[in-house]
Symmetry: none
Subunit: 206 residues, 4 copies
Amino acid sequence: MDHHPTSGLWSGPSKRDAILAGAYRAFARYGYANTKIETIAELAGVGKGTIYLYFENKEDVFRQMVKELIERHLDALRGRLSGDGSPGARLLAVFELHMAILKRHPYSFSLHGRDVGPADEDLRNWLREQKRRFIRDLERTIEEGIRTGEFRRVNARSAALWVFALLGIAFLEEVLQDVGWEDRLKTFIDLMRNGLWSQPNDTALV
Amino acid sequence: MDHHPTSGLWSGPSKRDAILAGAYRAFARYGYANTKIETIAELAGVGKGTIYLYFENKEDVFRQMVKELIERHLDALRGRLSGDGSPGARLLAVFELHMAILKRHPYSFSLHGRDVGPADEDLRNWLREQKRRFIRDLERTIEEGIRTGEFRRVNARSAALWVFALLGIAFLEEVLQDVGWEDRLKTFIDLMRNGLWSQPNDTALV
Amino acid sequence: MDHHPTSGLWSGPSKRDAILAGAYRAFARYGYANTKIETIAELAGVGKGTIYLYFENKEDVFRQMVKELIERHLDALRGRLSGDGSPGARLLAVFELHMAILKRHPYSFSLHGRDVGPADEDLRNWLREQKRRFIRDLERTIEEGIRTGEFRRVNARSAALWVFALLGIAFLEEVLQDVGWEDRLKTFIDLMRNGLWSQPNDTALV
Amino acid sequence: MDHHPTSGLWSGPSKRDAILAGAYRAFARYGYANTKIETIAELAGVGKGTIYLYFENKEDVFRQMVKELIERHLDALRGRLSGDGSPGARLLAVFELHMAILKRHPYSFSLHGRDVGPADEDLRNWLREQKRRFIRDLERTIEEGIRTGEFRRVNARSAALWVFALLGIAFLEEVLQDVGWEDRLKTFIDLMRNGLWSQPNDTALV
DNA sequence: AATGAATGAGAATTCATTCAT
DNA sequence: GATGAATGAATTCTCATTCAT
């Protein structure tokens, strides 16, 4: 069984990692506002004061936690994007991995979808930049697919946005638990490939 | 001049509306934890104490604000979904309206996607129910389209999820401002109709 | 009986005054480090939070308290310095008032002599400036006395320093309680007037 | 080169001395409350834990530091007081040395005059006792001078207080840097000898 | 109804002190 | 002896909520 790149989030022996792991669980469970530093410390198995040896304050713990979380996730996806196979195969691989990660880290959801904590300007900018970079990577892959003829001739930039949006399906986790992951993934990929309409059509809208 | 159903969110003269409008701006800008009741009062142009004449407490302000926001948004979309035209045309109309609303309410996305505030069980359940209901409506429309032959024979439930996910494109608002709304919308709809791949293909994944 | 200008320190009805009065008592009794904000609040008869409506933080309470205390004291002394009578008489009046104030405000001592709290740069500069100003006023009075022939021809600036140093006698309050105020004042004034030596002498030192 | 008794305060190679020297600088600069044990350790060039090998706690560091500082200073002055020469000459010698010490140890004044740290009963009593003893020594010298006719017939106890107060001139160090030490000392001594008034006068006050 | 000064429960943060290395 | 990472008791400070006006 392969060791999933993100399954052992903050599993290192360092106090810093222990704190981030505790913060992850606490924030996911209670939301930012309802998480006490003391709770994080308890979950991390360290003293309250220790947190302040490694982080500025509560907001800083949150910020660094989110940053590492997103960074690892996107890095993992990027690994697939620049892997082997045709652009289409790589795009599907990204999808597959994304879903797998979310499946194993239900908490991750809460963070994406629920309470990204204080709308810290720094964090917001960082997130924006990360998204931008990832979308750029998607764009290049799509351009390549267009060149090889695997993809239709679409606006690569907009298509990258579209693919990124599809990754947002994460949000729906808690919405429909009655649809199995397998089915869901299969349909998504089918739609991504072939679209919803039975007849090709690009009549102007409205 | 048509009066857009959701464009004038809380534009009424009532204090309650003023408070919700202030809360909307404050929560979107600072996040739940960093928003002070006092700030909401200032933005609303009322006294701090007044808020407690209309709401139970801070969480209640947040809850009602989100509920009304989502309710109006989804009601508007539902109006299009049950309007005139073929299932496909109605689906596109929903898309179009969704984008238009987000265009006018840039803050809105923060609330949809990220900062749903405190881990309030009640609100979370309500949101889940709303999404479920809306997805069910999408599902029925897609089933109808499949029956009429307009759509391909796909798993309607999963396809509904997929469409809902696409609405999440809202997130990208702040990410890529260099892509015009028109272009983006056109490409999205094209992809939704026809998919990204040039050759129809439904080989099993992996 | 005349109402002493500094006897009713912070006797106003305002919360701010009440807090400063409480702070005065608390700091004098326990020293800066051992004074809790809560204690000040209790002595002031207000809630803990109220203090933060009027002051930045503990250090700010201390700073403003000292400033007002010194300001009133020096203003009172200055009143005598610019009053009626010959320069010599005015100088003696300053002395007399200074001693009287210290006699009535034993706490004041503790503050002067014991724990002037955090060596806050701002406060230190302010104190220095106050002393400087007061010494300048003393200097002018001494110059006037030299002109009128009441005083000997000395370096007025240095003499002003000397007089100011004598006011520091305050410190000795707690040292020798066995010497009565009357005797002490009489001797001090005598020495200030006539010096300690029986024979005039200005042989070079060393 | 003469080894000035107090000039090389805590200059020994022992850790204990290094700590006291660091504490001296830290307390003088930041005040008791704002001085962290860690800062003292840094200034002393030792580890934080080392301090607890030589001292009970923070208060103990402060107490011992002040005690040694004052003890050395007063011992040095006492040496002059019981030296050679007439009582008047010895008094002037004390003055001279006092000024010299302050000149080399500008921080010193903060400790003498202001920030005697926490309202530690033990330290306060010790300081009172030290002052009392020194003033008694001054008193004896003055009595001797009165007997020999060098000094005028004044209340020796009050005169001793007066002289001690004059030593408080230390305070003025930071106030007036534009007056040279030489001029200042000369004027002070002149005033101490001859008084400020040109005509002997001991009319009762008030 | 409307207000905002006042409050204090509750959370964040600090830092003297300990103790394993 | 020396150290400094770790700790949690003790304090500062915040801010939702109340209530007299």
